[in-house]
């Protein structure tokens, strides 16, 4: 089931009564989610991603704009008639019911011709429990489960009625780091096996990048960029997206373009064809640095961290907008630990220029 959002806008009245202006949580969101894909809504807290999810779910009504599931306009439908499954951030498992009763709950709500017999319900519940691998835990209460198991029960409960769209609100935020890795693979697997269009919300870019077919990066209610994770990473449309994606984060410098050349401080670091002379913000991915004895970019070395496969060079530069520059290079390179300075050349496809005025990306022809 494809999901279409058309000029979706949600405004909340301002809490501060003196300010008449409404708070715009989601601003003019237009996007078509293809059938059977896993979409990550990504952004810092307060950017409107959870509100977007609530709008799709139907728990909140949009101020303007429309939502379609396939060809059905569901904008005015209450959540129960939309055919959505929702996994809440805290899972919202009913604590007084067993795992089995929790999973059966949505089925028991069905009425009329949709209603299954007791045996059919049980069979469905068992099928879904098998899928998320909790069929051993059916008689337990939620309080007797670990966080990861509760998560699976919540997913099973959302899936059991075969929703048209599955929504996950920060599905991994309550899990510890190791479980998070495991569970996100699990979510991916379950999504692939069921083929249900799935939308999940996260503030963790790594999480979104690793399992999504497409990511939507949001900031202050406005969609910044939509695309495949790698595409968004490789060509961010603005400084915000560039900064938000990637660990370690992108290194940002004050720079200047003059005569088709890019200067950081006084170092002329590379040619940027086709860019008019102006001050720019320069973003360089950590993997965009190449150690080179007489490279153009000169930084003061402050430390070297060896991380097995890679080494991470921590250095400083007066033009850097971050306190330190972190560059990741292959461990085959050797850095003398007592060296005062390091010199780099830059990989052009890992360097992004952004306008000082509106932070939009300025493309250059290598």
């Amino acid at each position: 089931m494809k999901v279409v959002l058309q000029n979706l806008t949600k405004k909340f009245p301002n809490r501060n009564k003196k300010v008449q202006e409404d708070v715009v949580a989601v601003n003019d969101f237009t996007f078509e989610i293809p059938d059977g894909k896993l979409i990550g809504l990504l952004g810092p807290s307060g950017c409107g991603k959870s509100t977007t999810l609530s709008l799709i779910c139907g728990l909140q009504k949009p101020t303007s704009g429309k939502i379609f599931f396939g060809d059905d306009d569901v904008t005015e439908l209450p959540p129960e008639n939309r055919g959505v499954g929702m996994v809440f951030q805290n899972y919202a498992l009913y604590p007084h019911l067993t795992v089995k009763q929790n999973i059966l709950f949505p089925l028991e709500n069905l009425k009329g011709k949709d209603r299954l017999t007791k045996d059919q319900m049980l069979e469905k519940a068992h099928q879904i429990a098998k899928l998320v691998q909790i069929d051993e835990l059916m008689e337990r209460k939620p309080s007797e489960l670990s966080g990861g198991q509760q998560q699976r029960v919540a997913i099973a409960r959302a899936l059991v009625k075969m929703p048209r769209v599955l929504l996950l609100d920060e599905p991994l935020s309550n899990l510890d780091a190791r479980l998070r890795l495991q569970t996100r693979e699990e979510i991916r697997r379950i999504q692939r096996e069921t083929g249900i269009t799935t939308i999940f919300v996260t503030h963790d870019q790594e999480e979104a990048m690793s399992i999504s077919d497409q990511i939507v990066v949001m900031k202050a209610g406005v969609v910044q960029q939509i695309g495949r994770p790698q595409d968004v990473y490789n060509s961010p449309v603005n400084l915000f997206v560039a900064k938000f994606l990637g660990t370690p984060p992108i290194n940002v410098f004050d720079g200047r373009v003059s005569g088709g050349r890019l200067y950081i401080g006084n170092d002329c670091v590379m040619d940027v064809g086709g860019v008019s002379d102006q001050d720019v913000t320069v973003g360089i991915r950590p993997e965009g640095f190449v150690l080179c004895e007489n490279g153009p970019l000169c930084c003061k070395l402050s430390g070297v961290e060896v991380m097995g496969r890679d080494i991470s060079i921590v250095s400083t530069n007066t033009s850097s907008l971050n306190p330190t520059i972190r560059s990741i290079i292959s461990a085959e390179n050797e850095v003398a630990p007592d060296a005062e300075i390091v010199r780099f050349t830059l990989k052009p496809n890992k360097v992004f220029l952004f306008s000082k005025a509106d932070e939009a990306r300025i493309s250059f022809g290598g």
Partner: protein, 296 residues
């Protein structure tokens, strides 16, 4: 370790002294009196020991009347007041505008002076030389004939007593239940809504189990409170409850100690112990039932 233990006892001492002096000692004393025939608190003498006090009390028609009254009161008021309070609380929590106003209105009886409340009930129910009372006016309006609620037939008096009791205990129950309802995580309701759960099913399958500990608390304290009812009856029917046939067990105990038939601490003690046994039994039954139905 030894030192720590001594310190612990030292810190506990005020509480232990207080409880021992004003709770444990009197309780034990009452228990002893209840077996001492004709105990006289002035001369500290008694004739003999045995179960005579219990036998007397259990054969005293006034006591039997009091037990009957108390049980009727308990059985009617506890479920009704809890049920109505639950309905009002659910109503309160599902409306947005004026919620605070209603909450205040429902809480008013709790902070109102008992005498003022008594006056209100007088106006509502009492038949005087000048007026039949508001309720009687209403009954007349619908073609019924006046009923004397204060000095009239037993059922009318019992009705007033139950009405009064329910009205008095309601605010506290509403207060407890509204806060219990407010503490249920909204996500449960959202999850239920997304799954298409009907309103009734949300109430019976989610709301009720979630607030069941609070309901249980109200039922237990309600039972205990209703068994100890006394002042309400006095406020409505005056101090001579035996004559009015509206005495309660606690009222009987009080009368045996200080009332017109006063000066019988042994009988009073026996009645008090019987009351204690009844309350204990009911509470134990409550606890057993709750184990099955209350979710924590």
């Amino acid at each position: 370790m030894e030192n720590n233990n001594r310190k612990a006892w030292l810190y506990l001492l005020p509480a232990i002294l207080f409880m021992g002096l004003f709770m444990v000692y009197p309780l034990v004393d009452v228990f002893i009196y209840s077996f001492e025939e004709g105990y006289n608190s002035a001369s500290q003498t008694f004739f003999g020991t045995g179960l005579y006090n219990y036998s007397y009390v259990l054969h005293d028609p006034y006591f039997l009347q009091a037990v009957k009254n108390t049980f009727i009161l308990v059985i009617i008021t506890v479920p009704l007041s809890t049920g109505i309070a639950l309905l009002i609380s659910v109503g309160l929590s599902s409306i947005k505008p004026l919620r605070n106003l209603y909450q205040t209105v429902y809480f008013l009886p709790y902070v109102t002076n008992t005498l003022a409340v008594g006056l209100v009930f007088m106006i509502l129910f009492k038949k005087t030389a000048y007026s039949d009372g508001l309720v009687n006016l209403l009954i007349n309006l619908f073609g019924g004939s006046s009923v004397d609620f204060i000095d009239g037939p037993y059922w009318a008096k019992m009705f007033v007593l139950c009405f009064y009791t329910i009205w008095v205990v309601m605010p506290f129950k509403i207060l407890i239940l509204t806060s219990a309802l407010a503490s249920v995580n909204q996500d449960y309701y959202n999850a239920a809504r997304v799954d298409g759960t009907s309103k009734l099913r949300i109430f019976t399958k989610i709301t009720l189990p979630m607030i069941s500990p609070m309901i249980f608390y109200l039922v237990i304290t309600g039972f205990i409170g209703a068994f100890k009812a006394y002042s309400d009856a006095v406020a409505l029917f005056g101090t001579n409850l035996n004559a009015a046939g509206m005495n309660t067990i606690v009222g009987y105990v009080y009368d045996m100690l200080y009332g017109d038939s006063g000066g019988y601490p042994s009988y009073a003690s026996a009645a008090a112990i019987i009351l204690f046994a009844i309350v204990l039994t009911i509470t134990v039954i409550n606890l057993l039932v709750s184990k099955k139905h209350v979710h924590y």
